[in-house]
């Protein structure tokens, strides 16, 4: 993965595949590190699965590899950060990763606005996005206007610029 925003897009696909109806993406950015936390209310994982899923050869789909989580773990650990997975079966899953910005191997945040924009308009899932003090969620956007659903790209192209502007400050 080239940057953090792609990791987030990938991990959210996991949540959606796990039948989540609610996803929270929380990014804390300090001068030293990024802390990325993704929580969903999907089917969750057993204790055994949480351990196993760190291996690239474990997946729930019908292939023999599942690289999403191992790649994210690598991106965190190669900068000296950590990645933890917490889950209760049938209830929730949280994946948290820290990436140290000043490390030689640190990856950039990337185009996070595009990731969030796509997640918002192409899924029926309720999604909350937090970046430091900035917060935006799909419910709020859908309530803005009942007639103009955000899943119609014509009505929603402004969301990308809105997010971009807010996370730059």
């Amino acid at each position: 993965m080239l940057d953090i925003s792609l990791h987030i897009l990938d991990l959210c696909q996991n949540s959606i595949n796990a039948k989540a109806t609610f996803i929270e993406i929380d990014i804390k950015s300090t001068p030293v590190l990024y802390e990325i936390k993704i929580t969903d209310n999907g089917i969750g994982m057993s204790g055994q699965m949480i351990k196993a899923v760190r291996s690239p050869f474990v997946t729930t789909s019908n292939k023999s590899v599942g690289l999403g989580i191992p790649l994210f773990i690598d991106s965190c650990e190669q900068t000296g950060g950590v990645c933890t997975i917490e889950s209760i079966e049938g209830s929730y899953t949280t994946i948290t990763g820290t990436i140290y910005k000043n490390h030689y191997d640190a990856i950039d945040l990337g185009d996070i606005a595009e990731t969030i924009y796509l997640l918002f308009i192409l899924n029926q899932t309720e999604i909350v996005f937090k970046y430091n003090n900035f917060e935006i969620n799909t419910n709020e956007l859908n309530n803005l206007s009942k007639k103009h659903s955000i899943s119609n790209p014509v009505n929603s192209s402004w969301i990308k610029d809105y997010i971009k502007k807010n996370i730059e400050d």
Partner: protein, 122 residues
């Protein structure tokens, strides 16, 4: 706890939505958004489709996402399903190809043979 009556009501309410999904008219564009697709640049392709479909005002196009189909070396992969249900799968799609696919296949109705995964594999 839900009673049986309430469950039945939930089911009835959900039925029309299901029908809608099954008999969707027009073209469906399905972009592979698994780990392999995303790392090969599927996000740019997906955004480009969303933008171009909006720009051109194509109301008969639905954009969907799906997982890995096992041809990771040919990602980004885009599947186009026409109104009669015929599916064409394109591989190694670049942002430039998105325009070609929309103009030639979705508007023009002509399959771009050179970019289908069957031809890319040979």
């Amino acid at each position: 706890m839900l009673s049986l009556k309430e469950l039945k009501k939930l089911k009835e309410n959900a039925q029309p939505g299901l029908k809608l999904r099954k008999y969707k008219e027009g073209y469906q564009v399905v972009v592979g958004m698994a780990t392999c697709g995303i790392s090969a640049g599927a996000r740019t392709i997906l955004t480009k489709f969303v933008e171009e479909v909006a720009n051109k005002g194509l109301e008969n196009v639905t954009i969907l996402q799906k997982g890995c189909i096992g041809e990771c070396a040919l990602e980004p992969i885009v599947e186009v399903i026409d109104p009669s249900g015929n599916s064409t799968t394109y591989g190694l799609v670049t942002p430039k190809d998105v325009l070609t696919i929309i103009e030639e296949h979705i508007i023009g109705g002509k399959i771009i043979e050179a970019k289908t995964i069957e031809n890319l594999k040979n």
